[in-house]
């Protein structure tokens, strides 16, 4: 668990994924990629890709949690997939204002 800060760059411990935190929740949260917690850019990785977290990351895509308070930009793609608190993150779509005719 860690308190994330917008602007921080992190990387996956188990694949080539690199990310930048764009928006972070106020509370501590554990963000994983490929099943392993993200590590600081200079830090050494290790471990293996978890079988159930192999969806892959795509460069330039924004990944968000359901609450919408966590947003992570993928700056280098990899084989692992991102999750926060054990829940897979999804690619961010448009946030349309509700309207009706």
């Amino acid at each position: 668990m860690a308190l994330l800060k917008a602007g921080t760059r992190l990387k996956s411990a188990v694949c080539s994924t690199e990310v930048m935190i764009v928006a972070a929740p106020k509370e501590e949260v554990e963000v994983t990629c490929g099943g392993a917690p993200l590590v600081a850019m200079g830090e050494a990785g290790g471990g293996t890709l978890s079988e159930d977290a192999k969806g892959g990351t795509q460069i330039g895509k924004r990944y968000v949690n359901a609450a919408g308070d966590l947003e992570i930009l993928c700056t280098k793609p990899g084989e692992g997939s991102l999750a926060a608190g054990g829940v897979a993150l999804t690619i961010k779509g448009a946030k349309p204002l509700p309207s009706s005719d």
């Binding site: 330039g60 448009a94 349309p96 509700p98 309207s99 005719d101």
Partner: protein, 405 residues
Amino acid sequence: MTAVMQGVRILEVADHTFVPAASALLADWGAEVIKIEHVERGDAMRGLASSGLALLNSKVHVLLEHSNRGKKSLGLDLSSPDGLDVLYRLAATCDVFLTNKLPSVRSKLKIDVEHLRAHNPRIIYVRGTGHGERGPDADRGSYDALAYWCRAGIALSMKHADDASVPSPPGPAFGDSIGAMTIAGGIMGALFHRQRTGEATVVDVSLLGVGLWSHGAALALSLQLQRPWAPMPRSFATGNPLVNTYRTQDGRHVSICCLQAAKYWPGISEVIGQPDLATDERFAEAASLLKNAAAATQILAAAFAERPAAEWRERLAGFSGQWAMVQDTLEASADPQTVANGYVVDCKTEDGTPFKLVAAPVQYDEEAALPGRAPAFNEHGDAILTELGLDMEAILDLKVRGVVA
């Protein structure tokens, strides 16, 4: 289909249907359309639920597809200098700039004619508005239900004196869709002019103007007669028994519109199984038929009420006059003429979900234009920026700063 718009590049900053559907048509005909969407929300259409239908929860947003088929999407923050710079760089590569932003918004965002032309003197600048560029309401927003329908006189032209309420447009984007076709035609004319003369024009189309034009024949009469156009009374018979809509036994309607009644009277007498009426002296001549129109109308009304629509369809098949079954939208889509001419086409979303759209009603070289699908929000963002010459580092920088989606 001959892609007559192939090689034309269009840059669009527009929401909803009226203006986006114009470039959707041009995309059907081969143009490349780059749709700039709000960096977070996307086209406001993405959030629109229509008339109580829960579109937001359905798998295909067909209204979005109708007006954005075949386009590319880039989410861009036009309120930031860097976002504007991207827009200008894109404009430099485009033939047409298309927007539905109001005058004050265009100038605030610096996307008005002067700014765009500074980056591309040859760009055709196209504005779709509610009420036109001049006049006290030039800067007021509108929708087709307002400017096209209510303000242009169409709604009251459909309201019977005893109606307690004013008729609404028949469906979503009714005025928008014909307005979009009008814009598309305007753009094609401007491209032709530029090709011949080298001059880039400013093109204006408004919902009010399109509403007036749609209703132009009635307006001309109304102005000539100096009275507001209004529907014929419910009990009104036209004076031509062969210009009327008759109810069938099963509650359907057959509409007949034979302006030369006397010519077709023998034919319709055959159709209703009363061939003797052709020589009946009340109806045999044009003048007598006109004089006895009420009686003829009653005979036809009684006859049509005796058989179901399906039977009339068969009986009328060989009739040389002009007629139509009054059809609902599903029947219209399945109409053999619709099918034979490819007026409704099969489309698919990216994940293969099928849906149907009405094709562009102009066909080149005898083939319907098959629409591509609408883009997901910012689907082509990175590709568009890469094509502009930005490397991934630069694109990521724009993303981090929220300039692009």
